[in-house]
């Protein structure tokens, strides 16, 4: 992999150069919450405060709510107008956990059906990663096989090596982007070595661990253990925070807004924590809270791996950090009972 470097004080110039060609998104707290937002053209203060955003970068690809199309009924039938987002973009500063999450949910959006809304944004966006050098105590990415400085799922990777960032050119798209990079220089062997040392050091900072060995089998074994699930679900308040702010949760609901003979179809985040999520006219298979909590855990650690060979969690820790009751998935996964014999209550 070829590497380059750039001085930290030149990041403004770099983004400015890029923003002439593409729309640049950076970590922002302008709207009262940390999220990826369109760069204002000058502020690079995020380099000082940014650890990770509360709203994950997935929102740049699967927004909390988005317009799918508008429709109108005329004398000759319905007319649809698709909303197309073909904007070429850069998401600058995405953390490796969130980048891995994108690779994970790509699988569901390209599985039996290619989702045009998600994929158009995904294909038009270059991910510029920023190595995580100050993980939270809620982070447990290394347990999920994600290194905080991992470059596998981004196009370019920036790593803090003091007064400069080392830049890894991971993909061809990333390389191409570097051809219009203002202020970048060739990196030396010493710079590469510095980055390597940073990577080793940060990996050791992750103290929260989860044993994910045979996790799908272990979950399967205790699936029917109602007592266990009731106990771990007791303090959950069934809000949508852990799922909405999870970088790998992708569920959405669809609805129409109608005004006379025209309307708009929207889709927006939905959550298996909500009772309404599985409500059907006659019954609700997940009426009780423990069933919903079990679904959330099992979907990430058992069902998703069964379907796509990968655990749908990257250890970003948001569900722990932002939970109103400190419901901690790492504690749940560490306290799974060995197995139960009764399979009566599924």
């Amino acid at each position: 992999m070829t590497t380059k470097k750039i001085s930290k004080k030149d990041i403004g110039k770099l983004l400015e150069g890029w923003s002439r060609e593409l729309t640049v998104f950076v970590p922002s707290k302008d709207k009262g919450v940390t999220e990826m937002a369109k760069w204002d053209g000058k502020d690079t203060s995020f380099l000082e405060w940014y650890r990770n955003t509360a709203i994950p970068a997935k929102a740049s690809f699967l927004p909390a709510s988005e317009k799918m199309f508008s429709f109108q009924k005329n004398t000759d039938g319905y007319h649809l107008e698709l909303s197309k987002d073909q904007q070429k973009r850069i998401v600058f500063g995405i953390r490796p956990c969130d980048a891995k999450a994108m690779a994970i949910i790509d699988k569901v959006f390209t599985d039996s059906y290619e989702d045009p809304y998600y994929l158009s944004k995904r294909n038009n966006t270059i991910l510029v990663g920023l190595s995580c050098t100050n993980p939270y105590d809620s982070c447990f990415c290394t347990s999920l096989g994600v290194e905080p400085t991992e470059s596998a799922d981004v196009d370019l990777m920036f790593t803090d090596i003091g007064d400069e960032f080392l830049i890894e050119e991971v993909t061809d798209r990333g390389k191409e982007l570097m051809t219009i990079a203002v202020g970048a220089k060739e990196a030396t062997k010493a710079d590469d070595a510095k980055a390597k040392a940073v990577k080793v050091a940060v990996s050791g900072m992750l103290l929260r661990k989860v044993d994910t060995k045979d996790i799908a089998e272990r979950l399967q074994a205790c699936f029917s253990d109602k007592d266990y699930w009731e106990k771990v679900a007791a303090k959950c308040i069934s809000c949508g925070i852990c799922t909405f702010l999870c970088p790998t949760c992708f569920c959405f609901d669809i609805c129409d807004e109608l005004v006379k003979k025209q309307g708009t179809r929207y889709r927006g985040w939905d959550s298996c924590s909500f009772r309404l999520y599985t409500k059907m006219p006659m019954e609700n298979p997940r009426e009780e809270k423990w069933r919903r909590v079990r679904q959330k855990v099992c979907h990430k650690y058992e069902f998703y791996p069964m379907n796509f060979d990968v655990i749908a969690c990257t250890g970003c820790g948001r569900c722990i950090r932002l939970c109103p009751v400190n419901w901690d998935i790492t504690q749940i996964l560490s306290s799974l009972p060995a197995s139960v014999t009764s399979h009566s209550d599924k």
Partner: protein, 316 residues
Amino acid sequence: MEQELRKEASKLLEEGKVDYIVGFAPGSLKFSTTPLITKEKEEVASLVINPFIVNNLAKFLTEVLGRVGIVAKGCDSRSIVSLIQDNQVVRENVVIIGVPCSGLIDIVKVEKLVGKDRNEIDDIALQGEKVAVIVGGEKTELPTKKVLFDNCLGCEFPTPQEYDILIGEPVDTTCNRELGQEKMKELEGMTPERRWEFWKYQFSRCIMCYACRQVCPACFCERCFIEESEPQWVLPVSKWQDNLIFQVIRNIHVAGRCTDCGECERVCPVNIPLRSLTKKMYGLVNEMFHYEAGTDKNAPPLMTAYEYEETKDLIR
């Protein structure tokens, strides 16, 4: 105090007076606690009392089956009383373990003042008028008033009024009701147009996680109006108009039930200042009906009672 609490809780379980204990245990993050809902005597040993017992546990009373021994701060005990008034909780089925509260520390305020995140702070100690914060071995003293939750600053009932067991000594109520209302006052000072723009902007940021409703003990409806599909009152995707309607209706529904525990604002993941609405409603209820939620378990719920006097300035 913690020892006394654990002893009492354990005794309640042992003597069969309650089926469950609902209290606080240490959280998995620094300066955090987590609700403990248990029937195991051994687990009672992890009960804690500290300035980080943020949750209003009354929320769980409508869920946990059987008789419950519940740890309650002043505001929580009012929520419990309010639930009793609304026939959601049977007084005899609850053993209220009152915990006098000197105010809870808002970790976000501490983080902002010391410029460090929660896990980078070594220690936080509430010492009367001052809070000692240690970062990297260095001690900083912050005025307590700057780091308590807004709703704690003007708390009128830090000691539970309704309890069966009181742990420790009652806390002096020398509160200043005017404190902790800066945000609301600022909004009151705005022109209606500006205030409209303010809320329009705030609700455009709502992600509809409904944590505000879920965490609220006063929101005990089996089925919330926003979950109705026929008619569909609000769209299931985030639109500021619908989010505003949701909050307005929620506020009217909890009027006379809201005890200003501040949980809705604390849990909002996108930091919408929801307490500015609930506190306003709380004040209006007080002013119009001379009613304080959850202070009298024998009083009829606000909206079910009617006095002729009230007609005088009902419509204005």
